[in-house]
């Protein structure tokens, strides 16, 4: 399935050459404090944010202690209170009337009795030490002891939980994810307080060492699916993970298709809803947008809002979205086809108006359409990049003035402006922008087909698109499920949304288990479906 991945697996992208993995990191800590400190400094190239605090512990036999931390990654209060204070203040405890404590006992004593940090890990080699240091923990080195302690003191500035920017809702919760993996997973745990919510963490990216979290609900998610996700994540062998998109492109089934096969979202309630249906969420530290696998086509037309509004309006809105999707995909192409190839199919009064408009236009329809569509894409992109105060002006200028001026100048016809505007507005109703992007690209292909073969071309294009879509799978689930293959039981939440009392079962295809939502007994796994 992962053809792309397999093709490129051997050539891992090495940004630097292998010297980063030099033996300097493969170094076991020595009992000498000075040596250890020197090694750490060297490894980080004497970075300015590496803060070293050397002090002494114990009386009368003084042990030299050093704490190392990276400025900005640690919560200094925690560190001060739980680490340094304890080491410095509890002097009396370290006294030993009989003489010096042997080093190992010192180490054990410090770890077990003195460090009141919430979590202490032991590092015996430099690699582990650096990894812990770079995670924001404080390293405690004791002279004479060849182990280092890392105390949990992660802190620093991270963004607080804010309102979602792209997926807002009227009646639902207004939280969105942040860049911290732990915060994000905690948002999920707050919603699903079941012990079956399991989180598997790993680090990916040889240089970036990004934390990845795979979250699922044991007993609801399909084991084969979980194994598949693990396998695909294991295959990723790169230097860097730049956001969840990198992971997406590595583990997706087929990245040559325009359709997105993995869903992304900003909202915790969407993630928890999907987890409860048996899907798996992949969190990436540093990105506020986790991935949800597997994803089918109709999911991209559902919003969280659907479940907070009443069912009848949700059904209506979903239909509107699907129809808008069709408008975006086929609108300009149908217009081109009718005007160029089949003007006999347009009612006469409309035709006369269109003919009047087109009298002065120097371009053929396809060129005009491409021009307008392209202009609109440029406007859209510009609107995103614009700084906010100027953004308003751009949209007004772009939409009204340019459109009006272009029509008056006789470069495009008003009908074309209307079609392009309708297409664009329709594309904004699609809740997930990855699907919107797909449609934006596809409609150009449709336009070209329409300009070559007219309605027949559009028909062919639709057949090609459908057969391509039908052949996709997202982690083993056919992409167009539950339409093709038709799974009647899952229709309750595909396009329609029946009221909650009717939705008794989970989507059968995803979890492949007969699970009852309302009366939650754990069901037996079903036999193989017709996949």
């Amino acid at each position: 399935m992962n053809t792309w991945g397999r093709m490129f697996k051997k050539k891992t992208q090495n940004v630097f050459n292998d010297e980063t993995d030099s033996s300097s990191i493969e170094y076991d800590l020595s009992p000498s404090l000075e040596d250890n400190i020197e090694k750490v400094r060297e490894a980080l190239g004497h970075s300015g944010d590496l803060i070293l605090r050397e002090f002494e512990m114990g009386k009368p036999l003084i042990h030299k202690v050093a704490t190392i931390y990276l400025n900005g990654l640690t919560d200094k209060d925690l560190m001060g209170n739980l680490v340094i204070e304890k080491l410095m203040a509890d002097i009396h405890v370290v006294e030993n009337k009989e003489g010096d404590w042997p080093p190992d006992l010192i180490g054990a004593y410090v770890k077990d009795h003195l460090l009141t940090a919430t979590h202490v890990e032991v590092a015996i080699d430099l690699k582990k030490l650096l990894s812990l240091l770079l995670s924001g923990q404080t390293i405690v080195l004791i002279d004479g002891w060849n182990q280092a302690f890392a105390c949990a003191s992660q802190g620093g500035e991270i963004r607080s939980i804010q309102e979602p920017t792209t997926e807002s809702s009227v009646r639902g919760p207004k939280e969105s994810f942040t860049e911290s993996l732990i915060t994000n997973t905690s948002l999920i745990r707050r919603r699903i307080k079941s012990p079956n919510v399991w989180l598997e963490t790993r680090k990916l990216g040889k240089i970036t060492q990004t934390d990845i979290g795979v979250m699922y609900i044991n007993g609801i998610a399909n084991e084969k699916l979980i194994n598949e996700v693990r396998e695909r994540l294991d295959k990723i062998d790169v230097d860097e993970i730049q956001g969840s998109n990198t992971i997406e492109e590595w583990i997706a089934d087929d990245i040559l298709t325009p359709w997105p096969t993995i869903m992304t979202t900003e909202r915790p309630d969407v993630v928890s809803g999907n987890l409860l249906e048996g899907r798996i969420a992949i969190f990436v530290d540093g990105t506020p947008i986790p991935l949800i696998v597997p994803a089918t086509w109709n999911q991209f037309f559902q919003t969280a809002e659907d479940y907070y509004l009443r069912w009848n309006i949700s059904v209506f809105l979903r239909f509107i979205r699907i129809i808008s999707f069709l408008i975006t995909l086929l609108g300009p192409s149908l217009f081109i086809a009718f005007i160029s190839f089949h003007p006999e199919l347009i009612p006469t009064p409309l035709l006369i108006n269109l003919a009047a408009q087109r009298q002065a236009i120097p371009f053929p329809v396809i060129i005009e359409a491409l021009l307008m569509e392209f202009t609109f894409e440029v406007l859209r992109e510009a609107g995103i990049r614009m700084p906010r105060p100027v953004g308003q002006a751009v949209s007004i200028v772009g939409a009204l003035v340019l459109g009006e001026a272009a029509v008056s100048a006789g470069i495009v016809s008003s009908a074309m402006v209307i079609v392009v505007a309708a297409t664009a507005i329709a594309s904004f109703t699609i809740p997930h922008y990855s699907m919107t992007d797909a449609v934006r690209l596809l409609r150009f292909i449709m336009m070209i087909l329409a300009s070559t073969y007219g309605l027949y071309g559009i028909g062919l294009g639709v057949i090609l698109l459908v057969s391509h879509t039908v052949s996709l799978r997202s982690f083993g689930i056919p992409y167009l499920a539950p339409f093709a293959p038709l799974v009647v039981a899952d229709q309750k939440d595909a396009i329609l949304r029946l009221p909650k009392p009717f939705m008794k079962n989970r989507p059968r295809l995803v979890s492949q288990k007969k699970t009852n939502r309302i009366d939650s007994k754990k069901g037996e796994p079903l036999g193989e479906g017709n996949e």
Partner: protein, 406 residues
């Protein structure tokens, strides 16, 4: 998947070549709207006597910018339509020759109307419709009219107000006349073809009232009372493809009654003191035809159901009494029967069965029909007995019961 073919098979190169041929070589059917002359009306006249110019065709082409919301043009300078004419031995030839004069390729699918000159109609219109049926560009839903007293060319030249495209105006009048007055049915090309294939047909006519030359100018359109007008008038009986007779008035209305095409109309009834002094608005009408064969002779029964209400009186009648209404109903029945009778009589005289009554006999007694099919129009129809039953009801009297007239 596709990448696999690309990288693994050499045939992808051939595939790409084929693909590019498809896209590069051009779109054969692609046209630009501005490259079309949209035709709103077409007229066919007799051209000459030799085969080379058998037909003279006229096309009325729309000027879209004047017609559509081009109110910014202000005063109407140029005419909303233009006509061109040419002769040829076949209609297609004549139409294509017009391209010498017309500015762009003729575009037929939006024809609103087809006019046939009377002279040509007298000689035969059978063959005119083959091109309409055969060519995919002609859509068969437009009405066909025969021009009475003038040529189709002249009729297409007359400018009209209220609907700047004359063909649209003609079609509009035809439509509203059929719906509201009911004297003349509208004959679509496909209906005409069906009827012509089987026997006789009835096609509505159109007349030019006024001077043709004056009608040819936009000034005509700007006058408040136009000097030259187009009027729907006359019902032409076509027998064996040739125009035989014009019907008007009662016989024409009778045809409409029988054909089940009467929608709304007005019937005038008599007062005790005055003739034709009460107007009844007929709201609904229906005709049911049944045929029987008795003693080897066909008997056809036409039943007409009509429903109306009193809409105007010129005398004082006691409309609040049931008996008065029943009296009026009786009169109404007689009036309708007269009209239908007039139609049947005239058509039997002309030996033309424009109603397709033969089909009803076929439905009832198909074996009998097979025997008499060939003789139907000539011999049997003129002699057949046609019974007319009319059921007329007057339901209401409008907003008032008795009139203020004393």
């Amino acid at each position: 998947m596709i990448m696999k073919i690309f990288l693994l098979h050499k045939s992808y190169k051939i595939f790409l070549c084929i693909l590019s041929i498809l896209f590069i070589s051009g779109c054969w059917d692609s046209n630009e709207l501005q490259d079309f002359s949209i035709i709103s009306g077409i007229g066919i006249d007799k051209g000459g006597d030799d085969p080379e110019n058998r037909f003279r065709t006229t096309v009325q082409i729309i000027n879209p910018s004047i017609v559509s919301g081009g109110q910014q043009a202000g005063s109407v300078q140029s005419s909303p339509v233009t006509t061109y004419s040419e002769t040829g031995s076949t209609l297609k030839e004549a139409l294509r020759k017009i391209s010498n004069e017309a500015p762009a390729e003729l575009f037929f699918p939006h024809i609103q109307i087809m006019l046939i000159g009377e002279e040509l109609a007298k000689e035969g219109i059978d063959e005119l419709f083959d091109v309409v049926e055969r060519d995919p560009k002609f859509r068969v839903l437009f009405p066909v009219l025969i021009v009475k007293g003038h040529t189709a060319e002249d009729a297409l030249k007359v400018s009209t107000s209220l609907r700047p495209i004359p063909s649209a105006k003609i079609e509009g009048s035809l439509q509203s006349s059929k719906e509201i007055w009911g004297e003349y049915p509208s004959t679509r090309a496909d209906q005409a073809i069906m009827k012509l294939g089987e026997g006789s047909a009835a096609i509505t006519g159109i007349e030019i009232n006024g001077d043709v030359e004056k009608g040819n100018q936009t000034a005509n359109m700007q006058e408040i009372s136009q000097s030259t007008k187009l009027e729907i008038k006359g019902l032409a009986i076509i027998r064996e493809g040739k125009l035989e007779k014009w019907l008007e008035g009662d016989p024409a209305r009778g045809v409409v009654w029988v054909n089940n095409e009467m929608e709304e109309t007005v019937m005038n009834l008599d007062c005790p003191e005055k003739k034709d002094a009460i107007a009844i608005d007929i709201g609904r009408a229906e005709s049911i035809i049944k045929a029987k064969v008795k003693k080897d002779k066909p008997v056809i029964t036409i039943r007409i159901n009509a429903e109306g209400s009193v809409s105007e009186t010129h005398c004082s009648m006691e409309l609040d009494k049931d008996e008065t209404i029943k009296e009026l109903e009786k009169q109404l029945r007689n009036e309708i029967e007269e009209e239908v009778q007039a139609a049947i009589k005239t058509l039997q005289e002309e030996k033309s069965d424009v109603f397709g009554l033969g089909e009803y006999i076929n439905i009832e007694e198909k074996n009998y029909w097979k025997k008499i099919k060939d003789k139907w129009e000539e011999e049997i129809f003129p002699e057949s007995k046609v019974n007319i039953e009319v059921h007329a009801t007057i339901r209401r009297t409008g907003m008032k019961v008795k009139s203020y007239i004393k």
